[in-house]
Structure formats: structure tokens, C-alpha cells
Symmetry: C2
Subunit: 454 residues, 2 copies
């Protein structure tokens, strides 16, 4: 493939490049749809047959603002071709973009099974001169030591000579993937400078944001992990301080609001736990890579432990708060509000709601869960109630796991019409203004002083 | 004392308030001088007789840009009265501002001996109606549990009834204390709301910046510690990553420069160690307070350990780099450039140069140290050479501990005229552009790839 800028732009605009996007999830489907929407022919390849059938009908399979009309448009114009046939997709493509999930196992080891299976299946169809772009989050070295050997083993191709490859890790924010597609600079690290340049010239036609070129795939992957580790560690630090300040009877929000008036302080906030597809797993990618070179990154590791322990801290707050009114957990009805890992989105990936409810159930209370984004659904082993009122009815304690806007707008007098009194509220997201807590409520949030208006 | 705003302003302007500033060091002397420069009568109290004598002659005792002319002016006008007589100062003062040092011991325990000794000496002279302001950095609870009891024990006064007290922890940046005096918001936490309000109204007359009022002294102190812990932890995280990325052969500066293009990433930089009066000690104030309530803040503690270990990491880089040219440390001359804990300032407090040189000396090389801010002086047990050329002469290895501008401007050809060749440079501060490293130099910096131009 040529790496001349104008050449690539002209070819892109003339529709001379065919793409395959592998993995039509939260990153892959928007990416495939947006590229197709620029006029290129894009195969959308996924092994999920149900998803492919829905997509063929022009129906999006993920809930992402702004995505539905684009999917409908590009499928109807035959620009996005959903398929579960790797031969059809790969053998007709010049550019292959991999957006497969890379979770961690229960042992917190990176799980590359989707990537391994994919390259075992598709490599034999890769054309000479193809370019492979890895958007999945992976450890530094995974392109060099896992993916390239897999492709070479399963094809007659040799990297650099016969195909180019680069990491361009997605940095998108779920909920803003389409709407802010052009705002987030892309990090591009190719196996050689030609791969890097070609990918840059292709992305110039796809996205309007800055392109940051780095030395190699492992550097690009380390950038992605470092960004999320920075956030995970800073959230863990503020959680660590929040728990300490509870003991010292200092309000962490007073601290954050005062400290952020200093030029070099950046606020992060305590909470019920860190969920989502990235933060709870990305640090383990680097931790495992570090362990391989006999190095334990203590800060990164402890940050994970602290954030993973926050649902347990919430349980403690529930027990202590019920104790004030002389109730045990076992004799109480506890209603959990929120399943999503962040507000105003139907995404429950690694939500702290799961470990919280699992630990809570062991203590024997009646537990009901409500989330407006999952009404009446069973998610893993949790059933989400159909309506808020029945969830509130006779509750002794409400626990807020997610700060959906709908919860923020709840009126305490409305709540108290249904619940028992006094009502315990354990607020895992600082959902409410502490000055607004009325009579009949005992309010406890993370890192703040108890408010006992019973 | 009245707490009406106009009243306090009028009294301040009419010179009706007399101040004592206790401790004429890096914070106390600028504070005393600036208040006196506003027209108020200020006693500057310190137990260091030499400092008092110099100050009486109008000569500043600390090196802080912009301070000398103010000191000269306010002493000559008799507005700042340096004294080592607590009776003269305190019994004539309405407002007492404490700027005493609060270091940690070798066991990393907060050392409040200066504060304890001070209040044992001065409390009996405190007038009824006085206001005491603690600018020193202290643990949350130190005003409430140590200082107030000390004053009450050594006087006939009762807090709130007879005297007000507040914490207003200094947040100044050495080197910019005078020039940016008005830019940094002040945190004010009084023992009662009256103390908080009076302090706020007094500071309004002293400083132009925003005043942030918090609930109590312990909250104000926790703000100060949280700010510095945030910085210490983030520097430690980047040091932890830098050491890992050395092993993975990834350049940490490429990572930082790429990652900072993401909206929620804030860059910090790796280095030879964290020095100065605040960062190496402040975290221990909170760690000790946490241990008292049976809580170990692992992230904060590991951050300290990692930052304290950086001088040792530099030793490793020195040994590995000398090994490339087949030299032992013992048979080498190693020249250390920089003693200050940060650039362009004559301040060596808790500089990583000390542990670095101590560990280096145990390996037996010839060691010379040069810092333009301490030429020809003996600082603790280190002698700082009088001239750069003799320090460079016959050196096998240069180690940069401080990135003084004067070092940044050094020309490699000039350096190589004096040193042995090939020359090892171990750069603890990323002082040089890695693209500028010429022939005959092996260059190693923290978190970056080795550059071997030998």
C-alpha cells in the first residue's frame, strides 16, 4: 500500500479501499458505521449471528447516542455489510480494524482468547499488502509477540514485507463515542514507520482530531493503559482518603473543593466502586506485563484493590447506619438504586452493583434493585424491578450505586411516602446535596459526615 | 475582637492591630514583611539570634526573589521589628501568626518540637482577645488536640472565650512566595465561625487572593496535606511506570506526551527523587494520623517509598552505564551536578542529592559535587566544588540531580573538553533533548531508552 498522503486520500474518496471492522460492539460498530458513512465500503464482521441479523435489518445492536440513524443509513446504502463470514470480509479488504473485547479473567489475567481465535480464523484470508489496525486495548508487546506471530503462522505472509500493522487504541468515552468521535486525538504506533504513516493518512480521512504518532505498537498500547491507570490510581487515592476522613470526621468534599483552588491539584471523586470496560481491567494488563519482568507496580496494584473494595465499604456503611435505628441487615429491606457503572447510560459492564449485591445478599436482607435503564430485565443473576414505587415500598434502606439524573431529581417527600421511617440512605455517588436532607432520613455517603435527621 | 468586615479593615488601615509572626524562615519572613509593608506593626519573632541581628540591619536571611527590598524597607521604617524576646512581641500583639517548621524525624514521625517549645514559651504572654493563626503544616487535629491544650495549660485563657485560633496552612511555592503572594487562594479553618470570619477579614487586608472558608482547623490542615499527597502520589506513579518502561524499552516521555492529549490525563514527570520542605514529609503527617485510627493508607505510603527509592534507581543506572564501557564505579570519577531540590533556587531541603551521594560513596568512586547556588560551601557533609571545570575534569560519569537553567545551557563539546571519553551522563531530570546527544556520550535518563553514542 502506498503511503503518500494525497494518494491515500484520493483512493479513500474514490472508494478504492475496502475495510473490515472486526467486533461490532461498543467501539467496533460506531467505527464501522462512521467509516462507511464517509463513503467507504466496510464489512462488519462479528461471530454473533443474532447481532449480524439485526444489523442486516439496519438496527443497531448497541445503545450509543447518535448511532442508530448512521447504522440505518449505511446498511441501507450497502456501505456497511454485516457478516459472520470471515472469508467474504477479509479476502475483500485492504484495511482490517480489530475492535474485539479484551477483558480480564476472574484471576485478573488478560484474556486474549477473542483475539487469538479471530486471527486463527481470519489470517489465511488476509491479502498481501493489507494493513491491520488494532483498536482493542492490549498490553505492550501483544502486537509484537502475539498477534504478528499468529498472522504469520496462519498465512504465508511476513510482516512489513507483506502486511503492515499498527496499534491505534480506542480512547472513547462510552455515551459520547459518536458525538465526540472527532474530538479525541488518536495514538498511532506502527510496526514500522510506513505502517504508522499509512494508518495516519487513512485516519485523516475518517476522523478530524489530532493524530499522535508514536514509535511502535507497544508504546501506543502503553499510552492507553497509562491514561486509564492515571484515573484508576487517582480515584483510588481519593477513595483511600475518603475512608480515612470518615474516621477523622472530615468531609472529603470540603477537602476536594478547597484543594482544587491550588494550581496543581486535579479533583477526582470517591464512589461506590469503579466499573466499565476499561478502568477495572486495564491496570491488570500492565501489572501482568510488569510481573513478567519481575517488577511489582505497588501503586497500580493497591489502587485496584482499594477501588475493588469500595462495594464492601458500602456494606459497612449500610450495617452501621441500620445499627443506628437498632435494625440488623437481616431484618431489613434494602433497595439498590442503579445498576449501570456510570450515570445515564445502559451499560452494566463490571458495575460495582454486582459485588455489592452479592455481598449484601449473604447477610440475608430482602434486596430489590431498580434501574430505569434495565426495567424488568434479568442481568446476570440480578433481577431489575419494573417500577420504582414497589422498589421503595417498605424499604428500610436505599443504596445509590449510580447517579442517574432521574435519581438526582427524586424528591425526598415522594420517597418517604413509600419507605419505612426513619429511612437510611447510603449514597455511593454523592447524589444529593447534604443540605437538602429532610427529617426522617439518616444519610450516609462516602467520605462525609453522617447526617442523622431521624 | 470584632468580626465586622469594615471594622476590621478600618482598624487594620489605622494601624490598630499589632502582629507577631513566629518563625522567620521561608514562609514567616515574607509573610511578616508583606504585612508590615501594608502598614501594620509586625514583630518578627525567632529564636535564631544571628538571624535577628541580620534582620535588624535590614538584611534578609532567606533567598527568595523580591524579598530583599521589602525587608530593607519595613525594617528601616520600624514596621517590622525583629526580636528574640517573646514577651515584647506577644504581649503587644493582637494577632499571632505561626510559621514554624514542622519536619519529620528520621523515623518519619511528625516533629512538632518547635511548635511545642514555642507555645510553652509564649502562651503566658498571649493577651485576652488575641487571635492565633497557624500557617505551619500540621496533621488534622494538631490545633484541636495539641496547640489549644498547650496554650490553655500555659496561660489563664480559654479557647473561644478568651482567644480565637485558626489554621491557614501556607500553600506557597518556594521561589514564588513573594512574587505570587496574591495568586494563591488561602484556606481558613477556625475553631469556631467567629475565628474563621475574623481571620478572613484580616487576610482580606493582607492578600488579594480568594479566601476559602472551611469547617474547622483539621479540615484546613487536611486540605494542605491532600494537595501535596496528590502531587507525591502522581510523581510516584510516573516513577513506578518509568522504571517499568525502562524494562519494557518504552520511552516514558513519549507516553506522557501522547497521554496528555486525553481530556482527563494530567502530566507528571519522573525524576531523581522528590525533595523540598513539603512533599517528602507531608504525606507522613497523614500516614501517622491514619495509623492512630488503625488504617494504613497503602497508596500514600507506597508513593513515599517509590519516591524515596529514586536516588537508588539512579545508582543502578550509573552502575549499568559504567558497565557498558567496562568500568566499575570504584575505578571512576563521578561528578554530581546539582544539590538544590528544584531548579534555579538555593534550597537543598531534603534534596535527593544527599541519599544519592551517600549511597554512591559506599561504592568507592571519586565523587565531586557542583552546584552554582552553593559554590565552595559545605552543606551537611557534602562539599560543593568552587568551579565547574575542575568538577568536570577527568570525570567518567556526570549525574544530573537538578535541572538548573545553567546546566540546561551546557554545551556537550565544552563538557567533553574536560571529561574522559566516552562520557557517561545519567540524567535524573530529563535535562537534555535526547536528539542532541553527540558522539562520545552514553546517555541514560529515567524511564527512557539508553542512547549509546560511544
Amino acid at each position: 500500500m502506498e503511503c503518500n498522503t494525497e494518494d491515500i486520500s484520493t483512493k479513500f474518496k474514490n472508494g478504492e479501499f475496502t475495510f473490515t471492522v472486526i467486533g461490532l460492539g461498543r467501539i467496533g460498530l460506531p467505527t464501522a458505521s462512521i467509516i462507511a458513512n464517509k463513503g467507504a465500503k466496510v464489512y462488519g464482521y462479528d461471530i454473533n449471528i443474532n447481532a449480524i441479523e439485526k444489523l442486516k435489518a439496519g438496527i443497531s445492536v448497541i445503545d450509543e447516542p447518535g448511532l442508530d440513524p448512521i447504522v440505518k443509513n449505511v446498511v441501507s446504502k450497502n456501505l456497511l455489510i454485516p457478516t459472520n463470514d470471515p472469508k467474504e470480509a477479509i479476502s475483500n479488504s485492504d484495511i482490517i480494524i480489530v475492535c474485539l473485547p479484551t477483558p480480564v479473567t476472574l484471576d485478573k489475567i488478560p484474556d486474549y482468547s477473542a483475539i487469538i481465535e479471530c486471527f486463527n480464523n481470519i489470517s489465511k484470508y488476509i491479502k498481501k499488502g493489507s494493513l491491520i489496525i488494532i483498536e482493542s486495548t492490549i498490553s505492550p508487546g501483544t502486537v509484537e509477540n502475539l498477534i504478528i506471530p499468529l498472522i504469520e503462522k496462519n498465512s504465508n505472509l511476513k510482516v512489513i514485507r507483506d502486511f503492515g500493522i499498527a496499534s491505534c487504541p480506542e480512547r472513547a468515552n462510552p455515551g459520547e463515542i459518536v458525538t465526540k468521535f472527532n474530538e479525541i486525538p488518536r495514538i498511532i504506533g506502527g510496526i514500522d514507520s510506513k505502517s504508522t504513516k499509512i494508518v495516519a493518512n487513512i485516519y485523516k480521512n475518517i476522523v478530524d482530531s489530532n493524530l499522535i504518532l508514536v514509535s511502535n505498537p507497544k508504546t501506543a498500547n502503553a499510552v492507553k493503559l497509562t491514561e486509564n491507570i492515571f484515573r484508576d490510581v487517582n480515584i483510588a487515592l481519593i477513595n483511600e482518603l475518603a475512608i480515612l476522613f470518615e474516621k477523622l470526621e472530615i468531609d472529603i468534599f470540603e477537602i476536594i473543593n478547597a484543594a482544587k483552588t491550588k494550581w496543581n491539584f486535579v479533583p477526582h471523586y470517591p464512589g461506590a466502586g469503579v466499573g466499565g470496560p476499561c478502568l477495572p481491567s486495564n491496570p491488570y494488563y500492565l501489572i501482568q506485563e510488569a510481573i513478567k519482568v519481575d517488577y511489582v507496580p505497588h501503586i497500580i496494584r493497591f489502587a485496584r484493590e482499594i477501588n475493588d473494595r469500595m462495594p464492601h465499604h458500602l456494606i459497612e456503611l449500610v450495617m452501621k447506619s441500620l445499627n443506628i435505628i437498632g435494625k440488623s441487615v437481616k431484618s431489613s429491606k434494602i433497595s439498590v438504586l442503579g445498576l449501570s457503572y456510570k450515570p445515564n447510560i445502559a451499560d452494566y459492564q463490571l458495575s460495582p452493583a454486582f459485588p455489592f449485591v452479592h455481598e449484601l445478599r449473604k447477610l440475608g436482607p430482602i434486596v430489590q434493585i431498580y434501574d430505569p435503564y434495565f426495567k424488568g430485565k434479568s442481568i446476570n443473576d440480578l433481577y431489575i424491578e419494573n417500577d420504582l414505587e414497589s422498589t421503595l415500598t417498605n424499604a428500610d434502606c436505599l443504596v445509590f450505586i449510580t447517579d442517574h439524573d432521574l435519581f438526582k431529581k427524586l424528591d425526598f417527600n415522594y420517597i418517604l411516602k413509600f419507605t419505612n421511617k426513619p429511612l437510611i440512605i447510603v449514597d455511593g455517588r454523592n447524589t444529593f446535596d447534604i443540605k437538602s436532607i429532610p427529617k426522617n432520613i439518616i444519610y450516609r455517603s462516602i467520605g462525609r459526615l453522617l447526617i442523622n435527621n431521624s
